[in-house]
Amino acid sequence: MLIVLFSIGFLLATGVCARLFQRTAAGSTRIGAAGAAAGCAVGFMAGLRALLDGHVESLRLPWSIPYASFFIRLDALSAFFLCLIFGISALCALYGAEYLSVERDHETGGSWFFFNALVASMAMVVLAHNAVLFLIAWEMMSLASFFLVTSEDEDPAVRQAGRSYLIATHLGTTFLFALFVLLGRSTGTLDFDGFGAAAGAPSTLLFLLAVTGFGVKAGLVPFHVWLPEAHPAAPSHVSAVMSGVMIKTGIYGLVRIVPYLGWPSVSWGGLLIGLGSLSAVWGILQALSQQDIKRLLAYSSVENIGIITMGLGVWLLGVSLGSPALSLLGLAGALLHVLNHAVFKSLLFLGAGAVVRQSGTRRLDQMGGLLKRMPWTGAAFLIGAAAVSGLPPLNGFVSEFLIYLGAYRGILSLPGASHWPFIVVIAALALVGGLAALCFTKAFGVIFLGSPRRDREVSLHEVGPWMRWPMAILAASCAFLAVAAPWTMARLWPGLLGPLNDVVITALGFSAIALALAGARFWLLSGRSVETAATWGCGYPLPTSRMQYTASSFAQPIVSLFWLPLRLPNLYEPCWRVGERFLKRFRWLQHGRVQLYVLYIMVTLIVLMVWKLG
């Protein structure tokens, strides 16, 4: 516990140092990145130990802010998220050290300050056990990430993205204000311990507040509008942290707070599944139709948050219908997917960042054939793409498997009337799985395969080791986490060992067969003629690289099927316009004539006199 606090403090200190010594960009980068990596490494170790030890530590100090106390607690849930935060952030910091070093002449001190503050505040969010402390950490996290998003604010699109992000996250926090105050109404303090004894408001209202407040941060569908704008706008290592880790704090919040709300009603789980499936399908459809690689990844985060939320919905349904097996599968699947998504999404963002940095464009249709020029990045991206599509033998598959299994269990073990949510889960997961494969074959295929679509791409080269190794580690983690899942999950929930074991055995069996086949192929081809030629153009004599299938044509069959949902406009903007116009109607009040201003005073006086005294 103290070690974790130390690493948080260390992060903040190095962040401030990086800001102070920003005379040279390289110096502040060195301080900031090294500090972030070291602090995260220490914190990661401490978090991992707490997770494996399994005992709960807490620390409570008085604090003079009203209703606040410095109450932090490190239990398994917190430790799990801590490992995630520190682990991913450390790698992203190392990556960022190289990413920020070239072709950016202006100061990096501020960027590192906010990066380290972001990591520290995320850690604080998952540690906090007092509402005020939680909200402060939560808002610091939002602000730090806002400043990181707008670090390239010369671009109007970045400014717009930053603004909508800031507004969305602040509005979400407003819901959390109400939630926490209502939760703590019956007790004097706002420590989490005191919650739940007797909630001061109808618990469904509280649940809705929680879903809205945390859903905005997580990027659930009706509240996701900021996400596809903000994540692409940020520098890639920051996008990786935001998409991989930060939006998961919304999930953390739900998992942490919902148990305090009392016995969940069936409609809660249904609501989560509804929102989750909507997010998943909508997110992947949008991702499919994107031209911009980082927007594509951002929308894919919406999709994965949807999958996680469906898992949470299965969990809540299991609790409310009294089926422990179901709730276990749902919760474990959701949390495991949180971990897996963090790993492969940050890997994908780092890979995308490497590509964007080398090629100077984010448009898919201008890339192509990069695998030959950037083999490391390409291989890492391919592993990430396979993992995000939920394919064995990688980690994304394992967590989706648990959620699937939960849904099937739900159908089998519960009476017919409560089947609907589970049917939705199965259908949505199946559809999303296929579409994700389509989406990421598109992304990987168009960027890395085929031949370059522009002359510039021909001369590209691989990124340096500081960017390469974090990607390699993450890619290895994708495989490792799949294999290690049964044992790690079984430590927390022994009931999961059985189903996962078989899955992993199958995956390992597949790998063995694949290796054997590769060997067989090698043996078959050895000593025979292996030639190279041009791709067969089906009789067309003069194929050029511009004639390759493009990203948009690749996605066209599905995009044309789902044109209606894809063209739905953003409804918040028009609503705001209407509201603004409504507010402007009252502008005449301040018309500039002093006579009428005095009349206001007189009318107020008379009205109040008559009303209050009459």
């Binding site: 003079s64 009203p66 209703y67 602000l143 109400a178 009252f586 002093v594 206001y600 005073i601 006086l605």
Partner: protein, 484 residues
């Protein structure tokens, strides 16, 4: 204690007599430092009531006196540099291109010091009559400050300020008379706050109610509660930024203090729910009106002025909600003073470089003025109640008071207004701070940075740590205002 408000008057008179600008500026600084020193001493030493109990420094007065003193110190530092920069001859007006000249510096500094003296008197006076005189005197001494730039817009602002506040204050006078009637025959010295509170049970209810209404409207005009706030945006936008800072941070609090004094009496007389209903209504209305004008506001100084209306509304709401809300309202008053003064001073820096008050005319402040730009963004976060700044705990406490009291509708309206204002302000502040720099980086002299920086640090500290003495003081005060 007499020295506390006496020497600013003396200084003000001296300022008119001194020959050189330089000596006047030194006098201004000296008075500010001395005043701050005396105020700090007042925290340590218990001062005896003076003049037959007319003047006394209770905790409430001391709190607001400290704010005034701190702000004046910051403003004086800023003003010295500001006056050096403002040239003397004819100046071209950047909005309409007409020529104008500034007020003589003697008048400006003299009025500043008078202003300080009258505000000090407001915090010290324990008698409603004297309080009235002091508050009216603050209007009179600040009107010339608003008319520093002698062109027609600031004249208009000063005229409106003078007329509307005078009308309001006249009603407050009537209210004071009613208070006397209410207190006649109750024993104890009439119109002394302490005595009225002690004998509150015998006050005549209807007269007290009428008196409260009149005083609320009268001082509320000065405090800027909607719909009585109409002078406020004009005056704040046209005054020099340093004066706006004092008006918003110190003067509005003085009027709030006046209302709180009456609330003390009414609470003691058992009119709690009457008082609370009115304050809640005014509070919500002010927040709503502020939201109307902040969203899409084209002039950033007016936007800050409307934000003052909003915060005055929040304070009124906090007191109106009672309980922990009063604590929140007082903490809000402290934080708002510091934050708003800081914002106005920063706005002054931006205005000095960009020569425009329109939002659309300012771009890339973070690049042109790195420190001021950063302060501007930080100030935005402060004033909208984001953690880790001091307005977060206070606004949170008021929300908790609303929900704990079962006022779900009030809480919803409160949060809605805050959200609208946040959206409106986010557009304005960020649009100004971010973007490409239209001009190369400008130098920022220390006098223009240091005062807002210190004020901002104060707000930051208060957001992370409320010193125990402050907590104790705020609790003492809130007990006199009806908190359990």
């Amino acid at each position: 204690m007499l020295a506390l408000f006496g020497f600013p008057f003396w200084g003000g008179c001296t300022a008119f007599l001194l020959r050189t600008d330089r000596s006047r500026r030194i006098l201004l600084l000296a008075c500010a430092i001395l005043h701050l020193f005396l105020t700090m001493a007042a925290w340590k030493v218990q001062l005896r009531p003076e003049l037959n109990g007319w003047l006394a420094l209770d905790t409430l007065g001391l709190l607001f006196l400290t704010l005034i003193s701190l702000l004046f110190m910051a403003a004086a530092l800023y003003a010295v540099g500001y006056l050096r920069r403002e040239s003397h001859g004819r100046i071209k007006d950047f909005e309409e291109g007409v020529l104008f000249s500034n007020e003589p510096e003697a008048v400006f500094i003299g009025c500043l010091l008078f202003f300080l003296g009258t505000m000090t008197l407001v915090t010290l006076s324990q008698r409603f009559g004297l309080l009235w005189v002091a508050i009216e005197a603050t209007t009179l001494s600040s009107a010339p400050l608003i008319y520093f730039h002698r062109h027609h817009r600031s004249l208009e602002a000063a005229w409106k300020y003078l007329l509307i506040c005078s009308v309001g204050i006249a009603l407050a006078l009537l209210g004071s008379f009613f208070l006397v009637v209410a207190a006649q025959g109750t024993g104890g010295r009439t119109l002394i706050v302490q005595d009225m509170v002690q004998h509150a049970a015998h006050l005549r209810g209807p007269w007290l109610k009428a008196a409260f209404l009149l005083l609320l409207i009268g001082y509320g005009t000065k405090m800027g509660l909607a719909p009585l706030h109409t002078w406020l945006p004009d005056a704040h936008s046209e005054a020099p930024s340093v004066v706006s800072a004092l008006l918003s941070g110190a003067l509005l609090n003085c009027a709030f203090l006046g209302i709180l004094r009456v609330v003390q009496v009414c609470v003691a007389a058992g009119l709690l729910s009457f008082v609370q209903g009115l304050l809640t209504g005014f509070g919500l209305l002010s927040m709503g009106v502020a939201a109307v004008f902040i969203v899409g506001q084209a002039d950033y100084k007016r936007m800050l002025a409307y934000s003052s209306v909003e915060h005055m509304g929040i304070m009124a709401l906090g007191v109106g909600l009672g309980g922990a809300g009063i604590f929140g309202a007082l903490l809000q008053a402290v934080n708002h003073s510091l934050a708003k003064a800081m914002l106005f001073l920063t706005a002054g820096n931006i205005l000095g470089v960009y020569k425009t008050k329109t939002v659309s005319g300012v771009r890339g402040a973070l690049r042109v003025l790195p420190v001021s730009g950063a302060l501007w963004v930080a100030g935005f976060l402060m004033i909208t109640g984001s953690p880790p700044f001091g307005l977060f705990p206070s606004e949170f406490a008021i929300l908790k008071a609303a929900l704990d009291g079962g006022h779900g509708g009030v809480a919803a309206a409160y949060l809605l207004s805050l959200a609208l204002i946040f959206i409106g302000m986010a557009g304005i502040f960020l649009r100004m701070a971010q973007g490409e720099a239209p001009s190369p980086r400008c130098p920022e002299p220390w006098w223009s940075i240091l005062p807002p920086l210190l004020l901002g640090l104060g707000v930051l500290v208060l957001g992370l740590y409320v010193p125990p003495f402050l907590t104790a003081a705020l609790q003492t005060i809130s007990r006199t205002l009806g908190a359990p």
